[in-house]
């Protein structure tokens, strides 16, 4: 139960940041012709590092199984987030 909670928490945290990175992505905004959330490259770099933070914590506390599940979830859900085509009127400015 403890590992399920840590898995859900770690995945939710990282996926939320992945979503933030997506809505502030310059190339996506250019190709989909939408306005994007303006974030500085430094902040985006920090956010990208934060995506990996739960993984580092899971490894540090010895939850290697939860780490693998978290990493796998990130790749699948991350792909599904990236696959969605943004709607122009719902863009974040």
């Amino acid at each position: 139960m403890m590992s399920l909670a840590s898995f859900l928490l770690a995945s939710a945290f990282s996926l939320a940041i992945i979503w933030l990175l997506r809505v502030s992505d310059a190339k996506l905004a250019r190709t989909a012709k939408i306005k994007r959330m303006q974030l500085s490259p430094t902040l985006r770099f920090i956010l990208a590092a934060c995506v990996c933070l739960p993984g580092a914590i899971l490894i540090a506390i010895g939850h290697s199984g939860v780490f693998l599940s978290w990493f796998g979830t990130l790749t699948v859900i991350g792909w599904l987030i990236a696959l969605q085509r943004p709607r122009p009127e719902s863009s974040i400015s």
Binding site: K27, A32, S64, G65, L68, S69
Partner: protein, 533 residues
């Protein structure tokens, strides 16, 4: 940013595309059956009435009373020739199994494993059945012919050993090559991570879809392909080559070295209590064992290896080694060899990384999703390669083959279920009818492929076939002796209930997509074409 020169890129693209095209259809079959095989335990329980809710590899041993008196009693009735090793493990039907092992020459003059197999009630230790003879003569363990068929299809394509394993090993390497070459080929791997597929052209859209899926699933694509190839080649090539190099081809001697039967102490006549050993091991690890192995049980000194499943949050199980004569704890047994090593740690990771069974249903769901994502990468890559050559007439048949395989693999697996369930209900040979169901549906699809040349029409027929097959599969299970939903609830088997529902959800989803039914108001805005970058 490009890592390599243009000419190298073109060569890599050719390797990436052609290796995928030539073997991609088989690779897709392996990936889809692999994604299903992740849930082998759950699907086994779902498809075969009478099996325990949890597969034997997913739960600790049911030890409801002391084992020592039972072991001593059974040992008296077994000849010394069968006491080279004793294995105590669970079974998929929830019973306990105690097997005494030995070796003897069979009719062909070859040395074969001999066994005395006892099946016991875990609560009373009453012997429910006893079988004695060569391993090949033993009755198969409780199983589901349907899942055995699908797992074997994934492992060796039902080809005779070692050729089937060679084939799946090669397919694993093809996927490794495709993953590595894809990584090198993709010039904007970081900047394209969030670029959703563009709509400017069908070809560009296909490329974006394949690249996006491939990029995100790259780490696990490599891991699953590499570990799969490892399993295919470790036993078929690795072990014989090592045995040839170090032991003149004697593979038994090699296995004795890499997984030795440990003779630890000499205390003649003394036998430690197996229950005390189990209690000590359980206390050290924190959970009950999943299996126990007593090596050299007929010798003056023997060892006891107590195996435990991974702890919560972990990947690998733990094996504790004890002196069987004194009951003294010796050490945590490494996966390979007698002392911990990097090689042993590396080898011990292969299973969990490939099967994804270390974290219960959660890790299995993640691994199943990874399998589905990789199936999409494989199929979208094939489609992309074919669409790039769409104007050449010779490639038109390949387009139809990709469509046929894309829908055909899941349909033929459902076809196997259509053979299996009636055979189960009518007490016919379930293995035979499962294979016939698979081959029959594959033959029907081949005929369909020959008769229907238009890709759009072929797709439409296959989609409707899949929806129908998905909808009918739980009906077949329920009609031919499978547990009813009421019985499943009584058995607290929520997973089987969920599997039935998932089939119907899949069918309804397909139906909604096919009929273009809007379940909720959509705010879709017409998207303008954008130039390719």
């Amino acid at each position: 940013m490009s890592f390599v020169a243009k000419a190298t890129t073109q060569r890599l693209l050719a390797v990436h595309g052609w290796s995928g095209t030539i073997l991609g259809l088989f690779l897709y079959l392996i990936v889809v059956t692999g994604a299903v095989a992740v849930f082998a335990g759950e699907l086994r329980t779902w498809s075969q009435p009478g099996l325990d809710n949890q597969a034997v590899f997913d739960r600790p041993l049911k030890l409801e009373r002391p084992l020592a008196p039972t072991l001593a009693k059974l040992s008296e009735s077994v000849s010394e020739a069968y006491k080279e090793e004793v294995q105590i493990s669970g079974r998929n039907d929830g019973q306990l199994q105690i097997v005494f092992h030995g070796h003897a020459k069979n009719d062909q003059g070859k040395t074969e494993d001999t066994r005395v197999l006892h099946v016991l009630d875990p609560s009373t230790h009453e012997v429910l059945s006893r079988e004695e003879g060569f391993q090949s003569e033993m009755p198969p363990p409780p199983r589901s012919a349907l899942m055995d068929f699908i797992v074997t299809l994934h492992v060796n394509l039902h080809a005779p050993d070692p050729w089937g394993l060679y084939m799946t090993g090669i397919l694993g390497f093809v996927m490794v090559i495709a993953t590595v070459s894809g990584l090198i080929l993709h010039r904007h791997i970081i900047t394209d991570l969030f670029v959703s597929p563009r709509l400017s052209s069908r070809l560009l859209n296909s490329r974006d879809r394949h690249t996006l899926a491939g990029t995100w699933s790259l780490p696990f694509g490599f891991i699953l392909a590499f570990t799969g190839a490892f399993f295919s080649f470790a036993l078929t090539i690795g072990v014989p080559v090592l045995a040839f190099a170090a032991f003149g081809g004697d593979t038994d001697r090699l296995i004795e070295v890499i997984q030795p039967i440990e003779i630890i102490a000499k205390s003649p006549g003394q036998v430690a209590s197996i229950d005390e050993i189990i209690a000590d091991s359980s206390a050290r690890v924190g959970i009950a064992p999943s299996s126990i192995r007593l090596a050299d049980y007929n010798a003056e000194a023997f060892s006891v290896r107590v195996n435990h499943l991974p702890l919560e949050g972990g990947i690998n199980g733990v094996s504790n080694l004890y002196d069987g004569s004194t009951g003294k704890f010796i050490s945590i047994a490494p996966f390979v060899g007698t002392t911990p090593s990097a090689g042993s740690s590396f080898a011990s990771l292969m299973g969990p990384l490939h099967f994804g069974n270390f974290g219960g249903l959660v890790s299995k769901l993640v691994w199943g999703a990874l399998g589905a994502a990789l199936a999409y990468v494989t199929l979208s890559g094939l489609q992309l390669w074919v669409r790039r050559r769409a104007e050449r007439p010779a490639w038109a048949w390949m387009n139809n083959t990709v469509i046929l395989t894309g829908y055909g693999v899941p349909i033929t697996m459902l076809g196997a279920a259509f053979g299996y369930f009636p055979a189960l209900g009518l007490s016919a040979d379930a293995s035979y009818w499962t294979a016939l169901g698979f081959l029959g549906s594959a033959a029907a699809l081949l005929v369909l492929g020959v008769l229907v040349r238009k890709a759009a029409r072929l797709t439409l027929i296959l989609q409707w076939t899949m929806i129908l097959a998905l909808a009918l599969t739980p009906c077949l299970r329920l009609s031919f002796g499978g547990h009813s939903w009421f019985e499943l609830m009584q058995r607290q088997d929520v997973t089987s209930l969920a599997i039935d529902l998932l089939f119907w959800i899949g069918a309804i989803w397909g139906l909604v997509s096919m009929l273009n039914i809007k379940l909720w108001p959509s705010k879709t805005v017409e998207t303008r074409s954008v130039p390719a970058e």
